[in-house]
């Protein structure tokens, strides 16, 4: 066996021992584990439903067809949002949420329809969390203009309006 062959074998053995030593060094008595999580933006209503009567103040429960001012009404719904996140709303799934959000809807009756403007406003502002005790108020207001109620037939007009809520991205 030549001197060069012996040298190559020995160098190989030394390299192997080095790898074993490296394995031993690679072990450790401490380990670092990175922990991560994500909290998404979210908003939800915490009031299932509410009712609103659109009327003239001077004639509670009724619209005065001779009046020259809007008939109005309002109600509230409670919402909560992720801390510091603001909500936006949709009405009857228009597909264009906004805050505030206004949409004209048709109130119906056996005698015909009457348009009303519905507006949802985040009166309570940004959320403070979705846990109990963080309710914020959304104000739903309705208005019917004299042009819309002036020619309406006497009847009871109504509509179920679906209000949607989501977090502003």
């Amino acid at each position: 066996m030549s001197m060069r062959t012996i040298k190559n074998i020995l160098v190989g053995v030394v390299a192997l021992l080095g790898l074993i030593a490296g394995e031993a060094f690679a072990q450790a008595q401490t380990a670092n584990v990175t922990v991560s999580a994500v909290v998404p933006k979210a908003c939800r209503f915490y009031t299932a439903s509410s009712s609103m009567t659109i009327e003239h103040v001077a004639t509670p429960g009724l619209i005065d067809p001779t009046s020259l001012i809007n008939a109005t009404g309002s109600t509230t719904l409670n919402y909560r949002c992720t801390n510091t996140v603001s909500p936006r709303f949709d009405i009857d799934t228009s597909g264009v949420p906004a805050s505030p959000k206004t949409r004209t809807v048709a109130l119906t009756s056996p005698s015909g329809n009457m348009n009303a403007d519905i507006t949802v406003t985040a009166t309570g502002g940004a959320g403070t969390g979705l846990g109990a005790g963080n309710d914020k108020i959304a104000t739903i207001s309705g208005a019917i203009t004299p042009a819309n109620f002036g020619g309406a037939a006497p009847d009871t007009y109504s509509k179920i309006v679906t209000i949607g809520i989501e977090a502003i991205p």
Binding site: L10, V13, V14, L17, V33, V35, S36, V39, T82, N83
Partner: protein, 151 residues
């Protein structure tokens, strides 16, 4: 010069130095630390599922690390410890959010070692209680857990 490198004396010196280095490495790895995190398990990561603040269930995540003790009897007395970079040694705490959520998100830490032989599996179980994040601000949170073992 070429002749010198191929001389038996030069070879002996090279081999001697290599064996010494290897021996020192083995001594460091086994004589001073009975239990260790094995190569490839000195780092890890745990990603919690999305923390939905609406339903806010308790959320659990885990990871495993490979550990060894020599002799194996050392597993019986091994003390596995952890320290949270944001929370200390009694409570893990995730920091983050936009804007920063001052309290952070607290989580519990559990360590269990299972298996047999000199190489076993350490399971790290982390849990966040729903109330700990239901009011957190949105965004990403993180922490670094440093695990340790004695002897």
């Amino acid at each position: 010069m070429k002749t010198l490198l191929n001389s038996p004396a030069a070879i002996r010196m090279t081999v001697g130095a290599g064996i010494l280095a290897a021996a020192l490495g083995c001594a460091t790895g086994t004589a001073f630390a009975a239990c260790q995190f094995r190569a490839g398990s000195t780092t890890g990561s745990v990603v919690f599922p999305l923390l939905d603040p609406v339903t806010a269930p308790n959320v659990t995540a885990l990871t495993t690390l490979s550990v060894s003790c020599s002799p194996t009897s050392q597993f019986a007395i091994a003390q596995w410890t952890w320290t949270s970079a944001n929370g200390g040694t009694s409570t893990g705490r995730l920091a983050g959010g936009t804007p920063a959520y001052a309290p952070g998100i607290a989580y519990s830490v559990g360590i269990a070692v299972g298996g047999s032989g000199s190489n076993r599996t350490l399971t790290l179980t982390l849990q966040i209680a729903g109330p700990n994040y239901t009011n957190a601000s949105a965004g990403s949170y993180s922490d670094v857990l440093t695990l340790g073992v004695t002897p």
